[in-house]
Symmetry: C2
Subunit: 343 residues, 2 copies
DNA sequence: CGTTTCACCGTAAGCGGTTACATCACCGTA
DNA sequence: TACGGTGATGTAACCGCTTACGGTGAAACG
């Protein structure tokens, strides 16, 4: 790896000039600029990122806070890969990289976890990160708030945060749930239940609210026993469905707040001898891979998965370059009609 | 963020001593060491990573080469999330972070892609990365070889590479395929076909070879028309299955080299009016989420998904600290018997 | 008691960039 | 001719840390 000094010597200029060629090209004479650029290209010169970061207090990296093995070892993000693809490609358009911050660590590293946002914030300073992208890992809204208040630019996914340099991106959860429920009502169902996500989870709350709105719009009765809590996981869907089926007047249609729970509900229904969609209509949320594969294929509310990453990248880059905060981004959802509701 | 100098002043020592406290504790007097440590803790001191990397030419980061939008926009790694979980947690045990290298980029960044390994290699030098983890993204074995030869420590996933400081980790693909096929033969099937992965792909080749071995061991006839090529994707499984069903003597059992293709085959069989497993036995490979959800649940060969990440992390860390190369790691597979083969 | 040894610590030179400031040639103007 | 302005470049300090080297005082030695 050639250094700036080498370029300088070969060109008969000072290192300052070499640096200027790359950072303030307009301030250097065209002729010498070309000369420097030519030599630089010849030697395949790339400025050393550590040195540059040290000197400018700015690296070309964005930190990713993605807490795994938290309370729930089996936790899986429903569409992490698509999210990363979007994030990565959008960041790379700005020449930025994604640093997956490690939590825990050995003696040298004092641990950083969502329980200790300070650790992460320190890391962003130590590495001169431009900012942080926070992936929702359950219901750590409080921790996210601490990040947002820390002053480092950060964008949270699926958690509404507020702070001097913080914003968030999320789906139109309410709208999506509403259209799902409306779809069910439109098919003639009047006994429509919902299986919700965990209580503290914001998207979960929004989806319940969308469900309620749709019922109201359709002039349908809202029954408390038709709203049963799950945790986004499959088995909770099964349990919830069993509970619903045990009611005196079981629902004929169910909106599950996640595809995983919808699948769980499907299994429960099947075990109870019910046919889907004939005896029970089912809608999910997320449109993960599984949705199109189960039998019957799941009608569901699709989220713009790579769009999440792209929006996050845009927001964080905007905060890195400009000052101040960005507006929250609400991504549209789309109802994907398959076979689990009949026609 | 406190700096070393501040600590030094508060303790009445020089910055050198502060540095020594953290890097060669045994060379500094116990009393002053404690004093420094106490003040450092008080100020929540963490050495600046950029400065340290600049000075030592070693960062605490490992690069991740994960090429997406290559030739196949729809490409998805079957278990990226689990892999990352394993990788991240194992790296964090050493205090290392994972840097997702961006490909492409703006004018400032000359692009790096698998087509241009030099770009990545340059990045690892610029960022003083400890090494590179290469995720297989189809069939770029040649490109991987270039990485391996570059001299930077790197471990490839699912591609056998060789180089001065390179190694790889992969599953026991042959063994897995063999046990899957043996399972089919054990159930009494004699007309066993296979749907393979893309020709250039090493795991795909190993799986075919395992399939062949099992047939031979079982004393079964090998027919060329029973080996039809897919590309690991679902639709290719459907197409392949259709081809198999069109044969004069269609197989009664199929080993698909990926779960996705197995699902595709399942759809084709169902469309042709065949029942699975009664009319057709089916085994997949990977044990992705979908496998347990399709109806009938898919019998498949499970890979140790987080183990991949952990093994990769161990290998790369071993090469970072020690010199020289590491032995390749072959992870065991496990046949998961579900419902798609009957009993 | 002079000299060696050794544990401990400070000095200072990097690492490879960025950038405030100084320098200098050259121009137009009074 | 003297002068201020301007564009192009060099000088050197600095970012925060590591580390080779040298210095110091006390203990050990002859």
């Amino acid at each position: 790896m050639a250094t700036g000094r080498e370029i300088a010597q070969l060109c008969g200029v000072s290192v300052a000039t070499v640096s200027r060629v790359f950072n303030q090209p307009e301030t250097v004479n065209e002729e010498t600029r070309d000369r420097v650029l030519r030599v630089a290209k010849e030697l395949d010169y790339r400025p050393n990122e550590s040195a540059r970061a040290l000197s400018t207090k700015q690296s070309t990296m964005i930190g990713l806070v993605w807490d795994t093995d938290h309370r729930r070892p089996g936790w899986r993000h429903p569409y992490l890969q698509d999210l990363l693809i979007g994030l990565k490609s959008a960041l790379s358009a700005h020449g930025y990289h994604l640093l997956m911050l490690a939590t825990g660590g050995d003696a040298r590293e004092v641990g950083a976890s969502l329980a200790d946002p300070v650790g992460y914030v320190n890391m962003t300073r130590r590495h001169h990160l431009g900012g942080l992208v926070l992936i929702d890992s359950g219901s750590d809204a409080e921790a996210f708030e601490a990040f947002a208040q820390s002053g480092v630019p950060c964008v949270a996914l699926d958690v509404a945060v507020d702070g001097p340099r913080a914003t968030y991106v999320t789906s139109d959860n309410e709208g999506g749930a509403q259209s799902a429920t409306r779809h069910l009502a439109g098919l003639g169902h009047s006994r429509i239940a919902t299986i919700t996500g965990p209580p503290g989870n914001q998207p979960a709350q929004a989806r319940v609210s969308g469900y309620r709105k749709a019922l109201r719009d359709a002039g349908l009765q809202q029954r408390d026993e038709y709203v049963v809590a799950g945790d986004f996981y499959r088995t909770s869907g099964t349990v919830a469905m069993q509970r619903l089926l045990a009611l005196d007047e079981p629902p004929t249609a169910v909106f599950a707040a996640s595809d995983e729970m919808a699948v769980g509900a499907l299994l429960a229904a099947r075990a109870a001898g019910l046919r889907v969609p004939e005896d029970l209509a089912l809608v999910g949320f997320d449109d993960i891979e599984i949705a199109s594969v189960v039998d019957p294929a799941l009608t569901t509310v699709a989220q713009d998965k790579p769009g999440f990453g792209v929006a996050a990248a845009k927001a964080i880059m905007a905060m890195v370059t400009g000052a101040g905060r960005e507006e929250p981004v609400i991504l549209p959802t789309r109802l994907v009609v398959r076979d689990s509701c009949g026609s």
